[in-house]
Symmetry: C2
Subunit: 295 residues, 2 copies
């Protein structure tokens, strides 16, 4: 199985819908829409919409039910990157080999662009007409919670406040569970909901949650390992950046070997969670692919 090929096929498909959804006939709004397209269509592995598509498929949902949710999760993710890159946050000038949004459009438009992208993401979830109204309502409510103050945005706050403060392990875990974990969880649950499963006690809903937790934390551990152990040429960015910035990572608490074993354990728990369901091969393979990635 070629996971990279599957990912790139899904990316091509989702890019089509994202581009279609970011058209305007209002001349006065062209700059805002340009900036939204610039960041929403700027590449990336598109792991999140792929998770949504695959959980929908795994649980017998239709592709057309997944697509609006795939767009939704990608918009929310893109919004967080636009705001994260701004000078008052991480102050990054480049992302994925291109100047960041505020470098191209100015900070004022970038701020609005992030606001408009996240709002459009929530709107795509709420207006998904290929699912039942109660499913769309459950989906947008869940997405709003996972993205908001108790989820991704809360994780960003913990990250900001942890700078140069040596957070303890529990704080580091809480930060990652929220900052990146919450959207990965939302992506898996959106796919599950696209298949009509909105009952939190359903074994399939719980399996999606467990899988999301495992790959979410493992993803971050591998990020931390690659920063000290990776190949800068393959990664496309300098290594040892975390140490240089005085950042607390998993490697502040364990050796590279221990961290790798921890990521393997989490990945194996993620795979076990979906094992009972026929057709789990792609998601199982994806978890292994993310564990073994070199970039």
């Amino acid at each position: 199985m070629d996971i990279e090929k599957l990912l790139s096929e899904n990316t091509a498909e989702i890019d089509f819908y994202l581009a279609e959804n970011l058209q305007t006939s209002e001349l006065l709004l062209e700059t805002l829409y340009d900036s939204m397209r610039y960041s929403a269509l700027s590449g990336g592995k598109r792991i999140r919409p792929f998770l949504t598509a695959e959980f929908c498929r795994l649980f017998g949902g239709k592709k057309e039910a997944a697509i609006p949710f795939e767009c939704a999760i990608e918009y929310v993710h893109a919004s967080s990157l636009v705001h994260d890159d701004m000078p008052c946050m991480d102050n990054d000038d480049m992302r994925r080999g291109k100047p960041t949004n505020h470098v191209v459009y100015g900070e004022d438009i970038a701020l609005l662009c992030g606001d408009a992208l996240i709002t459009r993401g929530y709107e795509m979830a709420a207006t998904n007409s290929a699912v039942e109204p109660q499913t769309a309502l459950a989906a947008v409510s869940m997405l709003l919670k996972e993205a908001g103050a108790v989820g991704m945005m809360g994780g960003q706050e913990i990250d900001l406040l942890s700078e140069n403060r040596s957070p303890d392990f529990a704080t580091l875990m809480s930060m990652h569970e929220k900052k990146t974990g919450a959207l990965i969880r939302a992506a898996c649950l959106l796919g599950t909901m696209a298949a009509g499963i909105i009952d939190k006690n359903d074994s399939r809903y719980k399996a999606a949650e467990k899988y999301a937790y495992g790959i979410g934390i493992a993803f971050q551990i591998i990020d931390d390992i690659l920063d000290v152990d990776g190949d800068a040429a393959v990664l496309g960015k300098a290594t040892h950046a975390d140490v240089a910035l005085g950042k607390t990572t998993f490697l502040s608490f364990m050796t590279v070997d221990e961290a790798r074993k921890y990521a393997e354990k989490l990945t194996s728990e993620a795979i076990s969670a979906i094992e009972p369901f026929e057709g789990n091969e792609i998601l199982s393979e994806l978890a292994t692919f993310l564990l073994q990635r070199k970039k």
Copy 2:
């Protein structure tokens, strides 16, 4: 009838619910929640939640159905103010006699705070359990549209791009219809929906839209007039700021007398729209109050 008293009573009530809704038991999130409370509970006339409450009452809805929608619209409004005040936007240090959010919490937290407030606002609308699920879904979908790229955020973009460019009258109108008009419209429609009316062809839905249009544009005209004709001591801010900033206003296209007549006409159209409905006195009075305000 004492509109100011009714407004302040509703403000006290809505502040209670906003404060209750912004509690966290997670120590790590306290700063983010502090910043959200700081801006959501910072006073103001609270016109928008009052409109929601009154349209709900006018059309026979229950107060408890309106309250989550009142919180929702106020959060979205508060979020827009936090982001608007940031250095990369209007760069305001003071609002309502207090230092602005980024002055107190820093720009990074202020950016997240605005993101988290707007997300919480949408969430309050989606999770309103005092209305039918399809009503909550229609309400949050409408709110997301009015706040997003084709609504308030689009209006902010038009405003940014119009600086020092002398926009024509059509552009000025489009900017105001979106920038302030969209949320006033959303406020009136949320109240209408709280009363169970989600059909866009319902005469009550249409009446709410017409009323919102009239008072929204009139509100902006009065703002422009007060800037050249108001009493700085009553306003609590310097007059003639628009001219000093080279801003295009309604007075770039008409005299003060003509502008006042235009605002009167729009107000009278707003009042006419709700005249057929018994119990319209408070909303009629509110429109007149907003027309005659001195600050």
